[in-house]
Symmetry: C2
Amino acid sequence: MPAKLDHEARRRDVSAAVWRVLATEGFGGLTLRAVAAELNATTGLVTHYFPSKQALIVHALELAEARTRALVPPTENARGLEALKQALAAVLPLTPEATELNRVWVSSWDAALADPELRIMEMSRYTRWRARLKPLVLQAQQDGDLPPGNPNDLVAGLAAFTHGLVVQALFDPRAFPHKRLRQLLDAHLEALTPRRG
Amino acid sequence: MPAKLDHEARRRDVSAAVWRVLATEGFGGLTLRAVAAELNATTGLVTHYFPSKQALIVHALELAEARTRALVPPTENARGLEALKQALAAVLPLTPEATELNRVWVSSWDAALADPELRIMEMSRYTRWRARLKPLVLQAQQDGDLPPGNPNDLVAGLAAFTHGLVVQALFDPRAFPHKRLRQLLDAHLEALTPRRG
């Protein structure tokens, strides 16, 4: 195998090992040593790809970001409240992939709150998420499916409700089975819908 | 100083150092070495009080629990929706103490998701929190201030909304100043209130 291909293949192996450690141990367990053990390799090999703990964390966050993007549902077939419901449901831990991703993101908050650079990255992720939800909230308001008022406040509240459910479900999946999570989201959006008259 | 008093005083010093490390570095930065450095002492001294990393984490969680209990507002002067609003507002990062505590709890989720014992502890904390909110939700339903329906679902949704706001505010305090946090909570409870007719 040419050296370049070999390098790329090895890089993918290392990257996959980073994800496996992350999904089981969280950021607190993500060390050069743990990744090396997962690979059955030396710490030296891992250091070749990630010269520092910080580089390893940044790569882990990039992996999580790419996997999260892949989960965002296409909303061409829906608009307004229905599209909003789909976008929020996609964040809930309703599939093994979404559960794993949520577990990784929630676990990243410890490192992100302690490091100024990571903190800004997470702040920006939240800003981007709210910006993606906003046009859907505006449509739902125009359709009379959400109350009038500041759309930014509605967006922040819906993001809050969704992430707050995620955390409770991660710790207590038996009390928050998939069906209940969907019902809670539906009932919440319904409770916000102004009565027609 | 008698040996026993000396021991107790030293224990308080160590405990205070654990909290200072936690409040600035989070659980990811909470190591025997970091506590020793904060105390200007040897790691050996800290090991005397906390024989393992796990013992250190459990003590840190006990400290957080005690500080959280001290922040719970007395609700004798209020009932129903008003008491509920006070109970939820007490969780929001509206004071330096509440902000520090929230930062510690959110940071604890990384360790708690990775460790079965800590996971159960956090699951139980959530169960206790929801159990404290439930009578207030029931009163608010009786008063017609919250919609009828399963009170457990309303409680889970309100806990979700509140914790989800906490996380956004921790990462972006400028976008979520105290006044906006209070308004978001008030507007959310108002949006859930059934129209009187």
